[in-house]
Symmetry: C2
Subunit: 164 residues, 2 copies
Protein backbone atom coordinates (compact mmCIF):
# COMPACT_ATOMS: atom_id res chain seq x y z
CA UNK A 1 0.00 0.00 0.00
CA UNK A 2 1.22 3.46 -0.89
CA UNK A 3 0.44 6.55 1.16
CA UNK A 4 0.83 9.85 -0.67
CA UNK A 5 0.98 12.84 1.68
CA UNK A 6 -0.42 16.32 1.26
CA UNK A 7 -2.10 16.32 -2.16
CA UNK A 8 -3.05 19.78 -3.44
CA UNK A 9 -5.67 19.43 -6.17
CA UNK A 10 -4.50 22.39 -8.27
CA UNK A 11 -0.76 21.95 -8.04
CA UNK A 12 -0.26 18.21 -7.63
CA UNK A 13 -2.91 16.64 -9.86
CA UNK A 14 -0.52 15.28 -12.45
CA UNK A 15 2.26 14.29 -10.06
CA UNK A 16 -0.16 12.47 -7.75
CA UNK A 17 -1.82 10.79 -10.74
CA UNK A 18 1.60 9.63 -11.92
CA UNK A 19 2.27 8.28 -8.40
CA UNK A 20 -1.01 6.33 -8.52
CA UNK A 21 -0.35 4.89 -11.99
CA UNK A 22 3.20 3.95 -11.04
CA UNK A 23 1.92 2.28 -7.87
CA UNK A 24 -0.52 0.25 -9.96
CA UNK A 25 1.84 -0.60 -12.85
CA UNK A 26 4.70 -1.63 -10.56
CA UNK A 27 2.65 -3.87 -8.28
CA UNK A 28 1.07 -1.97 -5.38
CA UNK A 29 -2.60 -2.72 -4.82
CA UNK A 30 -3.74 0.54 -3.19
CA UNK A 31 -2.88 4.21 -3.02
CA UNK A 32 -4.20 6.27 -0.16
CA UNK A 33 -3.68 10.00 -0.26
CA UNK A 34 -4.09 12.81 2.25
CA UNK A 35 -4.48 16.53 1.67
CA UNK A 36 -7.24 17.83 -0.56
CA UNK A 37 -9.85 15.36 -1.72
CA UNK A 38 -9.67 15.26 -5.53
CA UNK A 39 -12.62 13.39 -7.09
CA UNK A 40 -11.42 14.21 -10.60
CA UNK A 41 -8.07 12.52 -10.01
CA UNK A 42 -9.74 9.52 -8.36
CA UNK A 43 -12.14 9.14 -11.29
CA UNK A 44 -9.36 9.26 -13.87
CA UNK A 45 -7.30 6.62 -12.03
CA UNK A 46 -10.37 4.37 -11.57
CA UNK A 47 -11.33 4.69 -15.23
CA UNK A 48 -7.83 3.77 -16.38
CA UNK A 49 -7.70 0.89 -13.94
CA UNK A 50 -11.04 -0.48 -15.17
CA UNK A 51 -9.81 -0.39 -18.78
CA UNK A 52 -6.32 -1.74 -18.19
CA UNK A 53 -7.16 -4.40 -15.60
CA UNK A 54 -6.25 -5.34 -12.07
CA UNK A 55 -7.82 -4.38 -8.79
CA UNK A 56 -6.01 -1.17 -7.98
CA UNK A 57 -7.75 1.07 -5.47
CA UNK A 58 -7.34 4.78 -4.76
CA UNK A 59 -8.81 6.30 -1.62
CA UNK A 60 -8.62 9.56 0.24
CA UNK A 61 -7.77 9.55 3.95
CA UNK A 62 -8.45 12.47 6.26
CA UNK A 63 -5.46 11.82 8.52
CA UNK A 64 -2.03 10.43 7.66
CA UNK A 65 -1.44 9.98 11.38
CA UNK A 66 -4.41 7.63 11.65
CA UNK A 67 -3.55 5.83 8.39
CA UNK A 68 -0.04 5.22 9.68
CA UNK A 69 -1.22 4.14 13.11
CA UNK A 70 -3.89 1.77 11.78
CA UNK A 71 -1.57 0.02 9.34
CA UNK A 72 -0.29 -3.42 10.36
CA UNK A 73 3.03 -4.22 8.74
CA UNK A 74 6.32 -2.59 7.78
CA UNK A 75 6.31 1.16 7.27
CA UNK A 76 8.72 2.82 4.88
CA UNK A 77 9.20 6.48 4.16
CA UNK A 78 10.90 7.30 0.87
CA UNK A 79 13.09 10.35 1.41
CA UNK A 80 16.38 11.57 0.00
CA UNK A 81 17.59 11.89 3.63
CA UNK A 82 17.20 8.18 4.37
CA UNK A 83 19.50 5.17 4.07
CA UNK A 84 20.21 3.86 0.54
CA UNK A 85 17.51 1.50 -0.74
CA UNK A 86 20.18 -0.97 -1.93
CA UNK A 87 21.37 -1.31 1.69
CA UNK A 88 17.91 -1.97 3.14
CA UNK A 89 15.94 -3.73 0.44
CA UNK A 90 16.69 -7.34 1.45
CA UNK A 91 15.64 -6.58 5.02
CA UNK A 92 12.48 -4.87 3.77
CA UNK A 93 11.62 -7.74 1.41
CA UNK A 94 10.96 -9.95 4.45
CA UNK A 95 7.83 -7.88 5.17
CA UNK A 96 4.63 -9.28 3.76
CA UNK A 97 2.58 -6.17 4.25
CA UNK A 98 4.14 -2.87 3.38
CA UNK A 99 3.14 0.77 3.66
CA UNK A 100 5.26 3.01 1.45
CA UNK A 101 4.99 6.69 2.29
CA UNK A 102 5.81 9.36 -0.27
CA UNK A 103 5.74 13.01 0.63
CA UNK A 104 4.72 16.26 -0.89
CA UNK A 105 6.82 19.39 -0.39
CA UNK A 106 7.15 19.33 3.41
CA UNK A 107 6.97 16.08 5.34
CA UNK A 108 6.46 16.51 9.10
CA UNK A 109 9.44 15.27 11.14
CA UNK A 110 6.99 13.03 13.00
CA UNK A 111 6.75 10.82 9.88
CA UNK A 112 10.50 10.14 9.96
CA UNK A 113 10.16 8.79 13.49
CA UNK A 114 6.87 6.91 13.05
CA UNK A 115 8.20 4.53 10.36
CA UNK A 116 10.42 1.45 10.43
CA UNK A 117 12.66 2.67 7.61
CA UNK A 118 13.57 5.96 6.02
CA UNK A 119 14.93 4.92 2.65
CA UNK A 120 16.52 6.96 -0.12
CA UNK A 121 16.68 6.35 -3.85
CA UNK A 122 19.89 8.33 -4.35
CA UNK A 123 20.64 11.09 -1.83
CA UNK A 124 19.80 13.70 -4.43
CA UNK A 125 16.64 15.71 -5.01
CA UNK A 126 14.54 14.34 -7.88
CA UNK A 127 11.00 12.99 -7.86
CA UNK A 128 8.63 11.04 -5.64
CA UNK A 129 7.31 9.39 -8.81
CA UNK A 130 10.79 8.08 -9.62
CA UNK A 131 11.57 7.11 -6.04
CA UNK A 132 8.36 5.09 -5.80
CA UNK A 133 8.99 3.44 -9.17
CA UNK A 134 12.54 2.37 -8.35
CA UNK A 135 11.59 1.25 -4.87
CA UNK A 136 8.79 -1.00 -6.16
CA UNK A 137 10.99 -2.25 -8.99
CA UNK A 138 13.70 -3.20 -6.49
CA UNK A 139 11.21 -4.64 -4.01
CA UNK A 140 9.70 -7.00 -6.60
CA UNK A 141 13.10 -7.82 -8.09
CA UNK A 142 12.28 -6.31 -11.49
CA UNK A 143 9.07 -8.35 -11.85
CA UNK A 144 6.01 -6.37 -12.88
CA UNK A 145 2.44 -7.60 -12.51
CA UNK A 146 0.37 -9.28 -15.21
CA UNK A 147 -2.96 -7.55 -15.59
CA UNK A 148 -4.51 -10.42 -17.55
CA UNK A 149 -7.12 -10.10 -20.27
CA UNK A 150 -8.10 -6.50 -19.71
CA UNK A 151 -10.15 -4.40 -22.14
CA UNK A 152 -6.92 -2.64 -23.10
CA UNK A 153 -3.81 -4.71 -23.50
CA UNK A 154 -0.62 -3.98 -25.41
CA UNK A 155 1.32 -6.46 -27.47
CA UNK A 156 4.92 -5.19 -27.30
CA UNK A 157 6.31 -4.11 -30.68
CA UNK A 158 9.71 -3.28 -32.12
CA UNK A 159 8.12 -0.13 -33.57
CA UNK A 160 4.59 1.21 -33.64
CA UNK A 161 1.57 0.44 -31.49
CA UNK A 162 -0.42 -2.74 -31.20
CA UNK A 163 -3.29 -3.67 -28.94
CA UNK A 164 -4.48 -7.20 -28.23
CA UNK B 1 21.51 12.34 -23.17
CA UNK B 2 17.79 12.60 -22.61
CA UNK B 3 15.41 14.20 -25.10
CA UNK B 4 12.07 15.30 -23.68
CA UNK B 5 9.47 15.96 -26.37
CA UNK B 6 6.75 18.58 -26.51
CA UNK B 7 7.11 20.56 -23.28
CA UNK B 8 4.18 22.88 -22.54
CA UNK B 9 5.27 25.50 -20.01
CA UNK B 10 1.93 25.78 -18.22
CA UNK B 11 0.91 22.14 -18.07
CA UNK B 12 4.19 20.25 -17.96
CA UNK B 13 6.46 22.40 -15.79
CA UNK B 14 6.58 20.01 -12.85
CA UNK B 15 6.64 16.78 -14.85
CA UNK B 16 9.43 18.06 -17.11
CA UNK B 17 11.35 19.34 -14.08
CA UNK B 18 11.02 15.91 -12.47
CA UNK B 19 12.31 14.36 -15.71
CA UNK B 20 15.33 16.66 -15.64
CA UNK B 21 16.12 15.97 -11.97
CA UNK B 22 15.72 12.23 -12.47
CA UNK B 23 18.00 12.39 -15.51
CA UNK B 24 20.62 14.16 -13.38
CA UNK B 25 20.28 12.04 -10.23
CA UNK B 26 20.33 8.74 -12.12
CA UNK B 27 23.36 9.51 -14.26
CA UNK B 28 22.46 11.31 -17.49
CA UNK B 29 24.60 14.36 -18.28
CA UNK B 30 22.18 16.39 -20.40
CA UNK B 31 18.47 16.93 -20.96
CA UNK B 32 17.33 18.53 -24.16
CA UNK B 33 13.69 19.43 -24.51
CA UNK B 34 11.48 20.54 -27.35
CA UNK B 35 8.16 22.33 -27.31
CA UNK B 36 7.80 25.64 -25.49
CA UNK B 37 10.98 27.28 -24.25
CA UNK B 38 10.69 27.57 -20.45
CA UNK B 39 13.38 29.79 -18.92
CA UNK B 40 11.88 29.42 -15.47
CA UNK B 41 12.22 25.64 -15.55
CA UNK B 42 15.75 25.86 -16.95
CA UNK B 43 16.75 28.31 -14.21
CA UNK B 44 15.39 26.12 -11.43
CA UNK B 45 17.17 23.02 -12.74
CA UNK B 46 20.45 24.94 -13.17
CA UNK B 47 20.20 26.41 -9.68
CA UNK B 48 19.62 23.02 -8.12
CA UNK B 49 22.43 21.51 -10.15
CA UNK B 50 24.86 24.26 -9.05
CA UNK B 51 24.01 23.61 -5.40
CA UNK B 52 23.99 19.83 -5.51
CA UNK B 53 26.97 19.30 -7.79
CA UNK B 54 27.79 17.67 -11.08
CA UNK B 55 27.76 19.05 -14.59
CA UNK B 56 24.20 18.44 -15.65
CA UNK B 57 23.01 20.56 -18.56
CA UNK B 58 19.51 21.46 -19.68
CA UNK B 59 18.94 22.98 -23.12
CA UNK B 60 16.02 23.79 -25.35
CA UNK B 61 16.02 22.52 -28.95
CA UNK B 62 13.79 23.93 -31.66
CA UNK B 63 13.43 20.65 -33.56
CA UNK B 64 13.33 17.09 -32.24
CA UNK B 65 13.84 15.90 -35.81
CA UNK B 66 17.15 17.74 -36.03
CA UNK B 67 18.22 16.69 -32.51
CA UNK B 68 17.55 13.08 -33.40
CA UNK B 69 19.28 13.32 -36.76
CA UNK B 70 22.37 15.08 -35.36
CA UNK B 71 22.89 12.62 -32.54
CA UNK B 72 25.66 10.05 -32.98
CA UNK B 73 24.98 6.89 -30.99
CA UNK B 74 22.16 4.57 -29.98
CA UNK B 75 18.66 6.04 -29.95
CA UNK B 76 16.01 4.73 -27.60
CA UNK B 77 12.40 5.74 -27.32
CA UNK B 78 10.73 4.88 -24.03
CA UNK B 79 7.12 3.92 -24.75
CA UNK B 80 4.64 1.51 -23.23
CA UNK B 81 4.18 0.06 -26.74
CA UNK B 82 7.81 -1.05 -27.05
CA UNK B 83 9.68 -4.23 -26.17
CA UNK B 84 10.32 -4.92 -22.47
CA UNK B 85 13.41 -3.15 -21.12
CA UNK B 86 14.55 -6.35 -19.42
CA UNK B 87 14.75 -8.04 -22.84
CA UNK B 88 16.78 -5.29 -24.49
CA UNK B 89 18.93 -3.77 -21.77
CA UNK B 90 22.05 -5.92 -22.22
CA UNK B 91 22.05 -5.13 -25.95
CA UNK B 92 21.57 -1.42 -25.21
CA UNK B 93 24.33 -1.40 -22.58
CA UNK B 94 26.87 -1.97 -25.36
CA UNK B 95 26.24 1.56 -26.60
CA UNK B 96 28.63 4.19 -25.30
CA UNK B 97 26.57 7.16 -26.34
CA UNK B 98 22.85 7.03 -25.78
CA UNK B 99 19.92 9.26 -26.62
CA UNK B 100 16.85 8.42 -24.53
CA UNK B 101 13.64 9.92 -25.85
CA UNK B 102 10.65 10.48 -23.58
CA UNK B 103 7.41 11.79 -24.95
CA UNK B 104 4.66 14.09 -23.95
CA UNK B 105 1.02 13.22 -24.64
CA UNK B 106 1.28 12.44 -28.36
CA UNK B 107 4.50 11.16 -29.88
CA UNK B 108 4.62 11.30 -33.71
CA UNK B 109 4.80 7.85 -35.31
CA UNK B 110 7.95 9.05 -37.08
CA UNK B 111 9.81 8.85 -33.74
CA UNK B 112 9.03 5.14 -33.39
CA UNK B 113 10.69 4.50 -36.75
CA UNK B 114 13.64 6.89 -36.34
CA UNK B 115 15.10 5.15 -33.28
CA UNK B 116 17.10 1.97 -32.76
CA UNK B 117 14.89 0.69 -29.94
CA UNK B 118 11.37 1.27 -28.70
CA UNK B 119 11.52 0.07 -25.14
CA UNK B 120 8.80 -0.30 -22.52
CA UNK B 121 8.99 -0.19 -18.74
CA UNK B 122 5.91 -2.36 -18.22
CA UNK B 123 3.29 -2.35 -21.01
CA UNK B 124 0.99 -0.29 -18.84
CA UNK B 125 0.30 3.45 -18.79
CA UNK B 126 2.10 5.23 -15.96
CA UNK B 127 4.70 7.99 -16.11
CA UNK B 128 7.57 9.17 -18.26
CA UNK B 129 9.33 10.18 -15.02
CA UNK B 130 9.16 6.59 -13.76
CA UNK B 131 10.06 5.06 -17.12
CA UNK B 132 13.15 7.24 -17.37
CA UNK B 133 14.13 6.48 -13.77
CA UNK B 134 13.85 2.71 -14.14
CA UNK B 135 15.54 2.74 -17.53
CA UNK B 136 18.57 4.66 -16.21
CA UNK B 137 18.64 2.53 -13.05
CA UNK B 138 18.70 -0.64 -15.18
CA UNK B 139 21.18 0.81 -17.65
CA UNK B 140 23.70 1.67 -14.92
CA UNK B 141 23.03 -1.58 -13.05
CA UNK B 142 21.68 0.16 -9.96
CA UNK B 143 24.75 2.40 -9.62
CA UNK B 144 23.99 6.07 -9.12
CA UNK B 145 26.52 8.88 -9.63
CA UNK B 146 28.63 10.49 -6.93
CA UNK B 147 28.27 14.26 -7.03
CA UNK B 148 31.33 14.87 -4.86
CA UNK B 149 31.80 17.74 -2.44
CA UNK B 150 28.92 19.90 -3.54
CA UNK B 151 27.54 22.85 -1.60
CA UNK B 152 24.61 20.65 -0.59
CA UNK B 153 25.31 17.08 0.33
CA UNK B 154 23.26 14.66 2.40
CA UNK B 155 24.62 12.22 4.93
CA UNK B 156 22.09 9.35 4.90
CA UNK B 157 20.30 8.90 8.23
CA UNK B 158 18.11 6.25 9.83
CA UNK B 159 15.69 9.04 10.73
CA UNK B 160 15.78 12.82 10.32
CA UNK B 161 17.85 15.04 8.06
CA UNK B 162 21.56 15.65 8.01
CA UNK B 163 23.68 17.68 5.63
CA UNK B 164 27.45 17.41 5.28
Amino acid sequence: MVLRLGHRAARDKRISTHCALVARALGAETLIYTGQRDSEMEASVRKLSAQWGGKFRIEHAASWRKALKDFKGGKIHLTMYGLPVQQKISEIRKQKNLLIIIGGEKVPMEVYHAVDWNVSVTSQPHSEVAALAIFLYEFFGGKTPDFGKAERRIIPQKAGKRFA
